[in-house]
Symmetry: C2
Subunit: 198 residues, 2 copies
Amino acid sequence: MPQQHRAKLTRRAILAAAAEEFDLIGYGAATLSSILRRSGITKGAFYFHFTAKEAVAEALARQYLVSLAEMRQRWLGRSLDPLSTLVGLSGEAARRLEHDVVLRVGQRLAGQRIGAESDGWYAVLDELVRKSAAAGQLRPGTDPAEAARVLYTALVGAYAVGDEPVGLADRFDEIWRVVLAGVAREDWRANPEPTDRS
Amino acid sequence: MPQQHRAKLTRRAILAAAAEEFDLIGYGAATLSSILRRSGITKGAFYFHFTAKEAVAEALARQYLVSLAEMRQRWLGRSLDPLSTLVGLSGEAARRLEHDVVLRVGQRLAGQRIGAESDGWYAVLDELVRKSAAAGQLRPGTDPAEAARVLYTALVGAYAVGDEPVGLADRFDEIWRVVLAGVAREDWRANPEPTDRS
């Protein structure tokens, strides 16, 4: 195995073990030793990649933000209308967050970073709800900024209400159904563009 | 001062100091000594009322649930339509939670108690949204159980998005405006019953 490839695998194994450890016992309680124990990686190999637990957390947060940016780019590239783009993007994110502990822990850490405004979702929601308004997809009288804030609040709540990530995608779906009933124009709701292909 | 009255004041001072302490440094980090220091109450006086920090937490949670039950009773007694009752009740709760640390910490602890299903809000929302449906106040096609779940999720998120309770009542208001636009019938939205008196 070429050395570069092996280094990549080691780095990924550290990130996965750290994410599981942070998820199970919490970021504060996790230690370098507990992460090493879980990953089966030596201290020497760890220090080749990271300086400390904090650096792993930073890498998980950054990796999540890169994933979100990639998802956003991909959905924007599909030339759906803005509201369908938003529903499709958030649906894919929910399904991936539900099943991928590395992504999920990265999101949580991104939202908690000192100086970080948020986990990146609010900006995405705000951008696409405003575009939906500009495209005439929202019901008259809808305040796009307010709708984006309420959607963000509901999606944040969707993480908090369940102890487990199980069901996250279903909770996102419900939020969209209820909020869009008030926000989206009837003609869009009657004929949404298909977003099930991701 | 009659002894019973003094005992009541002492108990209230312990609850207030504990709530502030839990709010500032977290339930886990707070200790009996830090609560005593904040309240200025002796260990002896404390043990007259409580056996341990856990018992104070339980009392705060119970006190919050009693307050919520009282608010619910009072709003139900005003004979407003169910949807106006719900909006008024949640508005009062948000304003009180925003300003009253004892109530706020009690709610948080009630939601975290082992064996407790929730902080009591979901049952209240579910009850009143179903009554609203039965009273014909919801738009055709609205699933009351789903609407109650999404409202609960959004209200839970409203706590999480701000680091501070400041603005909680405003966030609740926004949630109602956006969700009711999709859920409530137009004629109710055009002529809601006044709920500003509490």
